[in-house]
Amino acid sequence: MDLDKQIAEVIETSNSEFLAQCYELDAVPAFGSLVKTRSRDCQIYALVCASGTHSIEQGRRIVARGQGAASPAEVFKAHPQLAKLLCSDFRALVVGHDRGGVIREYLPPSPAGIYAFVYACKPEEVRLFTGSLDFLDLLIDSRLPAATDEVIAAFLRFASLTHEAPQEFLVKAGKGLAWLLSNDIRRLDSLLKRLRI
């Protein structure tokens, strides 16, 4: 994936999350990955917490077309209009922002701009963002479309791979979670189990 190329565009936005429509079908960023976009005054970082592909128009139901076809690609070839009638989008949870070169792991003053371009973050940006784990505080209490702990674990696994010592990063993150979830051992246990790469 060309990381300098925009992958999607914000089509619904609020202070805490945004919905972005991808330019290419099925080209959604990985669940739990870090993406960036812009508000009017800063760069916003957000976690992909849900994604999917559906009909571009509400009320037009997608029907199965592949009976007898060798592959889904063949279905698209036989029905070229499908690529124009379907779209992929993803919801991203805002976890921080960069203003004047300083990363802040709390919500930005203004939401992502509508139609703002969305980019996948480069490994060094992910590493930089996860230098501090303050964003975990924001995540723990979030109500997300997917199970919150699945998103947290997916992001930590994704981020760990950008660090020189992934295991060390995950241990550090685990300790941070233990502090935040000290009153909920069952949840902590379940989350830690999901951190294994």
């Binding site: 037009r60 698209f76 036989a78 029905h79 070229p80 209009q81 690529a83 009638l85």
Partner: protein
């Protein structure tokens, strides 16, 4: 209606002031009873029609002469191929394209002080084969000002474009947009342009439109666009066709009526004036063509090609409309093509093959037309929004945008 105990008493006792379906129910039941009683008779008429078709097939030249000499009160199909012909669809070319257009409009509203109408043309281009591609577009055009709101003659007569004239204007624009798109295609790729409905401008038939109106809509309108499709054949195989789903036409059944008629030459006014039943030809009366071809054709097969003998067709020249029926699953569709398509077996079979393939891809209806409709449709909500925008922009420009009190009372419902 669900009556909640929390609803106020007057809601519980309320009676809707619109259509009372319970009053209609009995009438619907009576209608169903009548239809059931006539089913046996319908079956008999269908059998006679199919037998007559077989007989007519063996004496086709005689029937052709009889049709040419007949003076009838109905529209009778002309015979171009053997009447009982049925033909399976050819294989589609490896690479081809289908383009389709459809339209909607917002008519002139006499309750608004601003006179205008809007045409919204939906256009779809689908390319199949080694380089599959799809392109959708919507082309809305606002018509305002006397020059665009009226069809004018050189000597100062004019006719307002509204109601059925607007419908025909829309058909012309659908055809023009389709021709524009097809002309812009890469050379060499075979293409069929599909239009929803009929190529015959039925609105001009039987109406007393002045010649300048007919010239504007037909000669300089629809036929000019058909010329463009025809001209494309210099560089590729290009055909145009219109698709009529669940057709009500009875041109072929009417040809069978002539076969059954004991008089030769047939002259309805002379021999059967004022009669609506009991005539020899009434044994097949009331049947639509689709019922015959539904029995005759198998899935994907087409019927013979027939000429339309509508009076307006005389003006069509090389685009004289021909038609055939095609069976698609459980439906019979009528496909109309200009004469130059019907005369070329290559183009004719391409239209047949591509229409069948389009219907297979579109669950019984050509996928390109279905998507063109989706692009063109103007919903009730769109209409309301359109007029709101017109009123707002006019007000912002300090231009009066009055609406009638009748229209106002519909917008603000009061008790």
């Amino acid at each position: 209606m669900i009556v909640s105990p929390w609803m106020p008493w007057y809601t519980k006792n309320s009676k809707t002031m619109t259509l009372d379906i319970s009053q209609v129910y009995g009438q619907v039941e009576a209608m169903a009873g009548d239809l059931k009683a006539s089913q046996a008779d319908y079956g008999r008429r269908l059998d006679v029609a199919l037998d007559t078709l077989k007989t007519a097939g063996s004496a086709q030249d005689e029937l052709r002469k009889k049709i040419d000499a007949a003076r009838t009160t109905w529209l009778v199909a002309g015979l171009k191929e053997a009447m009982g012909l049925k033909k399976p669809a050819d294989k589609c070319p490896d690479d081809y394209a289908v383009a389709a257009s459809d339209g909607s409009h917002i008519d002139v509203d006499r309750h608004h002080s601003v006179r205008l109408f809007l045409l919204n043309i939906g256009l779809v281009y689908l390319q199949y084969g080694s380089r599959p591609d799809a392109e959708f577009s919507t082309l809305p055009s606002l018509y305002f000002g006397d020059e665009r709101l009226y069809i004018r003659s050189d000597d100062g007569r004019q006719s307002p474009v509204e109601g059925s004239l607007l419908g025909m204007k829309r058909n012309v624009e659908e055809c023009r947009c389709l021709a524009d798109r097809v002309c812009a295609m890469p050379a060499g790729l075979p293409v069929v342009g599909l239009i929803d409905g009929s190529l015959i401008m039925w609105g001009l038939v039987g109406q007393r439109y002045e010649d300048f109106v007919i010239r504007h809509l037909l000669d300089e309108g629809m036929l000019k666009q058909l010329d463009r499709f025809h001209a494309l054949n210099r560089e590729r195989k290009a055909a145009v066709a219109s698709y009529i789903s669940f057709p009500r036409s009875a041109d072929v059944v009417n040809a069978l009526r002539l076969q059954l008629c004991p008089y030769n030459p047939v002259d309805c006014d002379k021999y059967c004036a004022g009669k609506f039943e009991g005539r020899a030809c009434d044994v097949v009366g009331g049947l639509p063509d689709r019922d015959i071809f539904s029995r005759l054709l198998s899935d994907g097969e087409r019927s013979a090609v027939f000429y339309s003998h509508s009076s307006i067709i005389e003006r069509y020249g090389p685009h004289k409309v021909c038609f055939f029926y095609v069976r698609l699953d459980d439906e019979i569709a009528r496909i109309e093509v200009p004469l130059w398509v019907a005369d070329s077996s290559e183009l004719l079979e391409m239209v047949h093959a591509l229409v069948v393939e389009q219907c297979r891809k579109g669950f019984g209806y050509p996928v390109a037309l279905s998507e063109a409709h989706e692009q063109a449709v103007v919903t009730g909500a769109d209409r309301t929004q359109f007029w709101d925008v017109v009123e707002r922009v006019m007000l912002e420009g300090n231009i009066g945008a009055d609406i009638s009190l009748k229209q106002r009372s519909k917008k603000i419902r009061w008790i």
